[in-house]
Amino acid sequence: MNVVLDNAGDIALAFIYTLSLFVVAGVLSLIFGALLAAARVGPVAVLRKAAAVYVMLIRNTPLLIVIIFFRFAGPKIGLTFGFVDIRVADIRLNNLYAACAVGLIVYTSSFVCEALRSGINAVPLGQAEAARAIGLPFGGVMSQVIMPQAMRHALPPLASVQIALLKNTTVCGALGVFEAFARMRGLTNDFASARTEIFLAFALIFVVLVEVLSFVAYRLERRWRIA
């Protein structure tokens, strides 16, 4: 266990990268996914089709391919994210980080969209009709009536999507972000004699993080439950 404690600082920094990827990609994928879901159920046929194609295309593509696209194909067509360079203490969010984060957002959004759509489908049609009948425009119907009820139904699948996102951030460890997975590989290589401990420690930290996430989702579920 000594190796893990001796390198606690490095490990903590790595998990800060992991968590920052998760927060950035989590929040933005929720926003973008909600817009996609609105487009999919909205009254504009072009948007409906476009959102459906997006989901079909991205959800059926492996995450690694999506991120590699932004990391290696992007620069070839001038998409380098060179404008991103944020420094906070030891944390450095650069172009590689941006490319990975965008890949995660693009990928996760399609799942968020489908989770929300399942929630929307669970809201009885009468709700939308009643909302329209009192004169609400589409935006009002969605934000005032449909989405609040849909969120309640969509919460469990959304939590699963976000948990998957937290673990998916490890893909970035092989593509330029020094997060937990990359740090673990560094440690297992340097300390061949303590591999089991290192693996266990990292697995344990991930279990704890996901457990926290599940707990938050569970609390929200209870709070939003219909009395």
Partner: protein, 301 residues
């Protein structure tokens, strides 16, 4: 008419391939082809009864762990039967000493080992020896046997041809790519640069080429190979800022292998086959062949 054309094309391809192989046969010392190492006769009593070397010589087969992705050290392209590189050349010398033909792929298996599985493979007996740009470290010696070094290299920097970076000090705060989990990446961080982990060295080179990262770093010998692949676009700069002692890995179950490996290496130093192996792989017209490094003592068994 169309089939005729196709046939003609096929024949041309075949001929080109054939002449390629023939040329390779005639010119064994040329770059990338490796040295033709012949198996030695093993007389009775050369290896002590019951030793691992005697067992391997008796069985007539051996498995060697090498890298497949490091041009110049251990590299296997999709069409090669046997990987090429300096590590592989040294492996051939060891194999030949056991009386096994190094080019006979039914007797010698060159198994790919990546950085993470070299110790587990040795411990589990999946490979008999590891020659995979395997740096000797105290921590690794707790788990497996390591002897040598048969090569000493240091970390350098690879940048775009038009870059004005001269050493690692110019890269403080900049992004520098290397393979995730490698010691090189650790050294980059220690020097104050931002490490960008990648999966392979060629991936890093790609990033340097398209300007996504400022530079990449690892052992100078690997960088020279990458620079040669992208001539005119990439260049190797700077003094070596670390020392890697590349050695042979063996299982701790067979400590007797250490003396044998050192013996073969010493012989290769003296009869010039070490220098020959270097010139055939890492060496080039403008690279001077270094002095072979001094070997470590074997631990008392």
């Amino acid at each position: 008419m169309r089939t005729m054309k196709l046939r003609a094309a096929a024949a041309t391809v075949l001929l080109t391939a054939l002449s390629g192989t023939l040329a390779a046969c005639g010119d064994a010392g040329s770059e990338g082809e490796g040295v033709d190492v012949q198996a030695e006769e093993v007389e009775d009593g050369k290896f002590e009864e019951g030793s691992r070397m005697a067992e391997l010589a008796e069985a007539g087969s051996i498995t060697i762990g090498v890298k497949y992705d490091q041009p110049g050290l251990g590299f296997k392209s999709a069409t090669d039967d046997i990987p090429t590189g300096f590590d592989v050349e040294i492996a051939k010398l060891l194999v030949a000493d056991l009386g096994i033909d190094p080019s006979d792929t039914s007797a010698v298996t060159y198994e790919e080992t990546i950085s993470d599985n070299r110790e587990p493979y040795l411990e589990a007996g999946r490979v008999d020896l590891v020659l995979a740009s395997y740096s000797i470290t105290d921590d690794r010696r707790q788990v497996v046997g390591q002897t040598g070094p048969y090569f000493i290299t240091g970390q350098q920097i690879l940048v775009g041809a038009d870059s004005d970076v001269e050493s690692i000090d110019d890269l403080v705060g900049e992004t520098v790519c290397s393979v995730s989990g490698s010691t090189s990446l650790q050294n980059v961080e220690d020097a104050g640069a931002v490490g960008a982990p990648a999966d392979t060295y060629s991936q890093c080179a790609e990033d340097v080429l398209n300007g996504t990262v400022e530079a990449m770093t690892t052992d100078g010998s690997i960088l020279l190979g990458l620079a040669a692949q992208n001539e005119g676009e990439l260049k190797v700069v700077g003094p070596e800022f670390s020392e890697e002692r590349i050695g042979v890995g063996y299982s701790q179950d067979y400590p007797e292998m250490c003396e044998w490996i050192n013996g073969v290496l010493t012989e290769a130093y003296e009869d010039g086959s070490w220098a020959e192996a270097f010139e055939a792989t890492l060496g080039g017209d403008d690279v001077e062949t270094p002095e072979p490094p001094a070997l470590d003592e074997c631990p008392a068994a």
